[in-house]
Symmetry: C2
Subunit: 258 residues, 2 copies
Amino acid sequence: MTKPTKPTILVVNDDGVTAPGIKSLMHVMKELGRVVVVAPDSPQSGMGHAITIGKPLRLDKVDLYEGIEIYSCSGTPVDCVKLAVTKVFKGQKPDLCVSGINHGLNNSINVLYSGTMSAAVEGAIESIPSIGFSLDDYALQANFSHCEKFIKEIAMQVLQNGLPVGTLLNVNFPNTNDIKGIKICRQANAKWAEEFDQRLDPYKRPYYWLTGVFHNNDHGEDTDVWALEHNYASVVPVQFDMTAHHAIPVLNTWNFNV
Amino acid sequence: MTKPTKPTILVVNDDGVTAPGIKSLMHVMKELGRVVVVAPDSPQSGMGHAITIGKPLRLDKVDLYEGIEIYSCSGTPVDCVKLAVTKVFKGQKPDLCVSGINHGLNNSINVLYSGTMSAAVEGAIESIPSIGFSLDDYALQANFSHCEKFIKEIAMQVLQNGLPVGTLLNVNFPNTNDIKGIKICRQANAKWAEEFDQRLDPYKRPYYWLTGVFHNNDHGEDTDVWALEHNYASVVPVQFDMTAHHAIPVLNTWNFNV
């Protein structure tokens, strides 16, 4: 069953409106429907679910790629989705929200830090079927072409089947032309071990650059880390209900003396 | 059973190191152990799980309140936790991480947008028992005194019992001197309906202020929204595994033609 009318697709990202990754995503989505892009005017990696509340936002229509309606926004990736829904679509929600393609992985715990994924989460909060896409290549000139047929297929399935209520998809691609297939996964229980590169400014005052190493102690074959290491595209269904439901009975055994 | 040595407690927030809410939290924690504060040098409300990766950070020891070790950080609430663990505690993790007291509620979906809660989430990712505290009063000069006995009791319970692996607590207080007690809750399925206040700058170019109205269609008596409306302090156990585990079998029925 196909939809009677062409779907409307909102494209967002966190690397900024001029990033090659979003251009690749636009071109795939153009084959599926009417594309509207609302993306940050500058890189917003690591912005997580930040929103702008202490200062105003700009939203400007730009003419970057022929035939695609594109807006550049001064805010965060989540701001972009909020402005798109309210000011661009004026409440007429799009049929799909896709975010990316991110220059770099957003597997495992990175779903929390990632502006790309947070934009997709915000789409899902707005009840729009939403997907975030990321590639294991951090270079600005990364080659996204081998991901495109997978992206098209996953987006078509979501348009056709919808997604379970309150969920979205986190899709990550390995950096290989030989992707073996798609694996439905859970988020690996991995984390960053932070290091801060301490330096002195010209006035001898210290400053710190965040660096870190990704540590994975979760070797489950049902994880996104495992799938990517074995050259599969990983698809993790994500929810924005952060309640640890299993912990509620535990806490109910506590006696609070107040 | 009490711990043989005085616990070490990391205090963070998102309203900034000079906010009255964090001062209140410091004073309660001082009764329980050795307090170390690492907080943003400016308000960081709505920063969610943002981290600073494109620019360096400052971390300065400040002498704000007598007898408490306090650091002011130029980054986000999550940056504060990362710098605290790495540079202040140098890997010797504190026994507890508390965040807040936030000037304003962080119930329901606000757990995602809140810098206060994201700092507590980061504490939990670092395997530190962590709690975020928020009060339903957005004023800078909010009165936090009626929350203090509840905060002390909840923190003592966490120090004594620990928390289930991979979880933390999101505690919200109603703005009343007559708090009826503590309710263990789930996150209500509510959301913000955004509005953007559109204005023209002196050069006649439009700009937008984010505003919005909180809409709750989830009237479950087991939700944090219900508890707060009925003058209970709400305690939601939160997890940072965002996998929608229930959706995995659904997605496994899809046939991807790639």
